[in-house]
């Protein structure tokens, strides 16, 4: 019943900021943000943490131009005044291809006595069509392995990406393996941050398991890209282009990072043309749009 009420009365019309000279793409379009779903997932004392899960839906014209979005929550309170914001840091942009384009974020569980919440924040949209520089196509991208790609668009964005040979990839993996020194360093850092021995051990085991998971043999088709983590954070999407210029199907994508450097492994499910082009979609400032929201009186389930 609350969902109908939300649909009827909690639709917040957000007018996107007009940017001079950006053409018609979303510039004058109204985008509506609706509360799609609220789930209050509550746990008694246990290792599992509960949360108030909010799902927002975008509606309006030209939504297919929005490639990704993220929700930055600035304020969220229940009707008793409890601060519900769990994390004020900006999350990564999430592709709208998945989860039916719904934008999800988590808040703290409100008390049972609360009956509604209000939220303020910003929905950031990534609209590559607003900035020609957000798409960078690098022809013959795999012609020279183990050397940074030489592309004007990447240089302009101050992004350096190196396609790796299998040999170099294996060397990198080896260098990242957890040895005694790295484990000792992890323990020291964990202790400094107040983690218990058990928690630190669990994290070390998790890191080992993830390394094992990511350390499998590469197929002959695999494409490995390496670079600074901060650069990879600004790359929203990487596509390998087939002979017809369209993206080939990638059956698995994984990116690992040690905080400083990142390695991306793309496993195409079809044979690649010789010397394929790679297209990078870059999160440029010009392609981003900030849309504030202020949603009041959302009933709690």
């Amino acid at each position: 019943m609350w969902k109908k009420w939300v649909t009827d009365s909690l639709v917040v019309c957000l007018t996107l900021l007009f940017v001079m000279g950006t053409g018609p793409v979303l510039a004058q379009s109204g985008v509506k943000v609706e509360v799609d779903e609220v789930v209050d997932d509550r746990f008694s004392e246990s290792p599992l943490q509960g949360s108030l899960q909010i799902s927002l839906a975008l509606t309006g014209k030209d939504l297919d131009r929005i490639e990704a979005a993220r929700v930055i929550v600035k304020e969220a309170r229940d009707d008793r005044g409890t601060d519900l914001v769990a994390d004020r840091d900006a999350p990564d942009f999430r592709s709208l291809e998945y989860n039916q384009g719904k934008l999800e974020f988590r808040l703290k569980n409100p008390p049972r006595a609360a009956s509604s919440i209000q939220m303020k924040g910003v929905v950031e949209l990534f609209v590559p069509a607003r900035d020609a520089n957000s798409r960078v196509r690098v022809d013959k991208a795999l012609a020279k392995l183990d050397a940074p790609l030489n592309a004007k668009g990447l240089r302009a964005a101050k992004i350096e990406v190196t396609p790796l040979s299998t040999q170099k990839y294996k060397e990198k993996l080896k260098a990242q393996e957890l040895d005694e020194a790295k484990i000792a360093e992890l323990r020291e850092r964990g202790k400094a941050e107040g983690a218990s021995d058990e928690e630190i051990t669990q994290i070390i085991e998790l890191v080992k398991a993830l390394q094992e998971l990511g350390g499998g043999e590469l197929s002959d088709r695999a494409v490995v890209l390496s670079g600074r983590s901060s650069d990879f954070d600004r790359i929203q999407r990487v596509e390998i282009l087939g002979a017809d210029g369209k993206p080939v199907n990638i059956s698995s994508r994984s990116t690992s990072s040690d905080g400083e450097n990142a390695t991306m492994v793309l496993e195409p499910s079809e044979d690649l043309p010789s010397n394929p082009a790679i297209e990078f979609t870059i999160l440029t400032d010009k392609a981003k749009m900030s849309v504030p929201f202020d949603i009041k009186s959302v009933p709690l389930p």
Binding site: W2, E37, V38, V39, D40, D41, R42, F43, S44, E45, S46, L48, G50, Q53, N109, R112, A113, S115, L300, P301
Partner: protein, 298 residues
Amino acid sequence: MLRVIIVGAAITSLIALPLAAQKARPQSGTGPIELSVKQLNDRRGGQFFERLQLVVELPGVASGDLSGARVLLRSAVDDTGRNLLDPDAGEPGLETIAKSPYEDADDRKKPATVSFSLVSPARTATSVKEIAGEIELYMPSKDPNSSASVPKFLSFKGKLISHKALKANGVEISLVSDQQFEAEKKRQAELKRKEMIKEEYPEDIIASSIESFLEYFPKPEPNDVVLRIKDPKSAIQSVSYIDASGEEKRGFLREDEGFMFLSNWEGPPEAGWSLRVDMKTAKSLIRRPFVLADVPLP
């Protein structure tokens, strides 16, 4: 851990739960079982999984002894008076409790846990006032005839497996050889052909129907072992492989055209492996009443 009050009243006589489908009548035990709430998850709202899930711990039952359980609820109410029983829920089946290969002897001594779900309580509720019902535990270790372990079971290919416990429960299991499977497939196709002739179908229709029947006849997957099973009392609870190191590998049975296909995620069984069949018997099923009171809600 949340405090639980065990009520010593003889609840069994008050409960009228349908037992007709249960071939092996469980033992009623000696009174209310000791249990405590280990975890509650009240998932509120959303299109899926809205419910109050409880995990209860049974201090008197070692996890290694428990192979299955079900909770038969009689009443459940929160402190606002909301009924927490799902009116659409049928009688739950006995749920097999999978053993983790990572469990060691100490883990198997730890108290067993059982989970069940209720309707979400009112948002304004602060506790579940009372949950009452019975808990049924399946403990094969209580009855030697509850479990049949057949060493090198693949040597029975084409034959009926002979085992005292299977016999005691009226269960017959035979391993179907490739030749037997093909012969049965042909026999069924021939039966179908004769039926169609009797019903005076044109020859071309009969030919295409038989071709289609053979094409869509169930095919064993590479990991499957094909069985014939007679289980008139529905005693079989689970079937699993035991590998050379003693590790249990859970099997999954699916029935098709009178055959039972036994599969396992990890691969086909090896020559030295055993087959373990766990069966419900009167001695291995134990039913005990319980009452949980004043359980605080998260």
